[in-house]
């Protein structure tokens, strides 16, 4: 295939990947951030100790983390069908991508929040700060550079997952690589996909690092 044939294919596939990863990232943050906060706040020496609940959340998160994405995706097909009405296509893939990334991101949020010094939290408590205000005004802002770094890693992981999702029928770059590179031995397409992926991941990582560094006042 010539380059001018490959280019539109690449654009379309990259767009599909961006849509899948974009939505999945949004839902992952919306679900994973509170979960990560809960893992820290409910800890036995956290803001609101509820070790049993924390333990339960931890188990769920670990189960999510221990399933390979491919297995998770297949196992979730019935669930995806209920939520989206279909189990294939770009939209449908957002469901397994989100479910796969939430536990991953939640753990990264937990780690970032634990980096916030105990002394700062206690200083806030000594000033009469309520629990929610401590989360909002101390934990999250202080951990922000770490959260951005965690988000970067998560987006990169999601791009990886999305390629796998593509193989099952989700479209995007993985799907393109499978159809042309694997089934038709179009080495040109394969190489192009690899190059696009490398560039995209590099860009995201650099952007993430840059933002994290700008925000860090350590």
């Amino acid at each position: 295939m010539e380059l001018d044939e490959i280019t539109p294919l690449l654009w379309q596939a990259t767009g599909e990947t961006a849509v899948m990863v974009g939505w999945a990232t949004l839902f992952t943050v919306l679900l994973g951030l509170p979960l990560g906060v809960a893992l820290v706040a409910l800890d036995k020496d956290g803001l609101r100790p509820m070790p049993a609940l924390k333990g339960a959340i931890g188990v769920v998160v670990n189960v999510g983390r221990s399933l390979p994405f491919l297995v998770l995706m297949i196992a979730l097909i019935p669930f995806t069908r209920v939520v989206v009405g279909s189990s294939i296509g770009t939209e449908a893939m957002v469901v397994p991508l989100t479910v796969g990334a939430v536990p991953f991101f939640a753990r990264l949020v937990e780690t970032a929040l634990r980096e916030v010094g105990r002394d700062v939290v206690q200083a806030a408590q000594a000033m009469g700060t309520g629990k929610l205000a401590i989360i909002r005004k101390v934990l999250l802002p202080e951990a922000f550079p770490g959260l951005v770094a965690g988000l970067t890693v998560t987006v990169v992981a999601l791009i990886g997952y999305s390629a796998m999702a593509g193989v099952i029928g989700g479209g995007g770059l993985g799907d393109l690589a499978k159809r042309y590179g694997y089934e038709r031995f179009e080495t040109g397409v394969m190489v192009a996909v690899v190059i696009v992926l490398i560039i995209v991941v590099q860009l995201i990582q650099s952007l993430g690092d840059h933002v994290a560094r700008r925000l860090s006042h350590k």
Binding site: A123, A126, M127, H217
Partner: protein, 316 residues
């Protein structure tokens, strides 16, 4: 101003506080001294209930904190400032943002907040540094921010856990000077923890010495110095253990007359001076002298010294 009674706190098997009573009067600077692990920090953290004592009560400015619910406790805490050893500033905020933090928590409006922050930074000598980030400041400047933040809620009481022990001697002195002037000018009651004798000497009116979760002695410095066998006096004047018969004299203020030569003349004794020093304390100047008295009317000489207001301790 601060009253604690019967405080007990266990950490597993460790007894951190073993029945502590504490009374800090309005307007004084009260120092808590003690070895590492004596329970000083635990005591301080019990005063604003960062740590809940297992038993005992804490009353600050007439409110019994140990009885309050979470919301009321948070309100009470807004009137109790706290300064931390490692400053505990928010790296994500500017200097001004750090000082504004407690005001935000208290719900003070934007304009009043900005004005108050500017005043506070001026007060601690950091006017114009509001836009900087804490990492751009020296240790002493960070602690000044910590103090400004602690004062934001116009507290009646300031708690300080080793506020100067991360600082060099010169900076320590300037921070102590600041604390002292806040005490004098705002009538702020200060409860501070330290392991530096120097801090006690230069600013404290009263002290408590802790050991193994208990207060071994406490009271006004002048009063403790006049108490025989006082540990505080021994800490201030590190003289070697006296041999039997050696005499230790402690006197406050500068004696008008040369008491020692008088004793030699009047009672025909030989005086051998073994050691001693004079210290200028916030509570006045205090001297301590280790001597050996021999011959003549030794007992009468000692009685005379006692009558002249010196504390006379004879090693047995």
């Amino acid at each position: 101003m601060i009253e604690a009674s019967g405080l007990r706190k266990l950490y597993g098997q460790t007894v951190a506080l073993d029945g502590v009573d504490l009374a800090v009067r309005q307007g004084e600077i009260f120092g808590v001294l003690g070895q590492s692990g004596a329970g000083k920090s635990t005591l301080l953290r019990c005063v604003n209930l960062l740590e809940r004592p297992d038993s005992g009560t804490v009353t600050v400015a007439g409110r019994e904190l140990t009885k309050l619910g979470e919301r009321e406790l948070n309100q009470a805490r807004q009137r109790i400032g706290m300064v931390h050893q490692h400053f505990a500033l928010l790296a994500s905020r500017t200097v001004a943002g750090n000082v504004a933090f407690p005001l935000e928590v208290m719900g003070v409006g934007r304009r009043e907040r900005d004005q108050r922050v500017a005043e506070l930074l001026e007060l601690v000598g950091l006017g114009g540094r509001g836009k900087d980030h804490p990492r751009q400041l020296s240790g002493g400047q960070k602690q000044r921010v910590g103090i400004a933040r602690a004062l934001a809620g116009r507290p009646e009481v300031l708690l300080s856990d080793e506020a100067t022990s991360a600082l060099d001697p010169g900076t320590t002195e300037s921070i102590l000077g600041l604390l002292k002037s806040l005490n004098r000018e705002l009538g702020l009651t200060i409860l501070l923890i330290t392991h530096e004798m120097n801090v006690v000497k230069s600013i404290c009116d009263s002290v408590a010495i802790m050991e193994n979760g208990r207060i071994r002695e406490s009271g006004g410095i002048g009063e403790l110095i006049r108490t025989p066998g006082s540990r505080l006096t021994r800490e201030i004047f590190p003289l070697p253990e006296p041999a039997a018969g050696h005499i230790t004299l402690t006197f406050t203020g500068h004696p008008e007359e040369p008491v020692i030569s008088e004793v030699v003349r009047k009672f025909d004794v030989d005086v051998n001076i073994l050691g001693g020093a004079i210290e200028e304390l916030a509570a006045g100047s205090v001297g301590r002298l280790r001597v050996d008295l021999a011959g003549g009317e030794r007992d009468n000489a000692l009685t005379y010294l006692r009558e002249r207001g010196l504390l006379v301790e004879v090693a047995g």
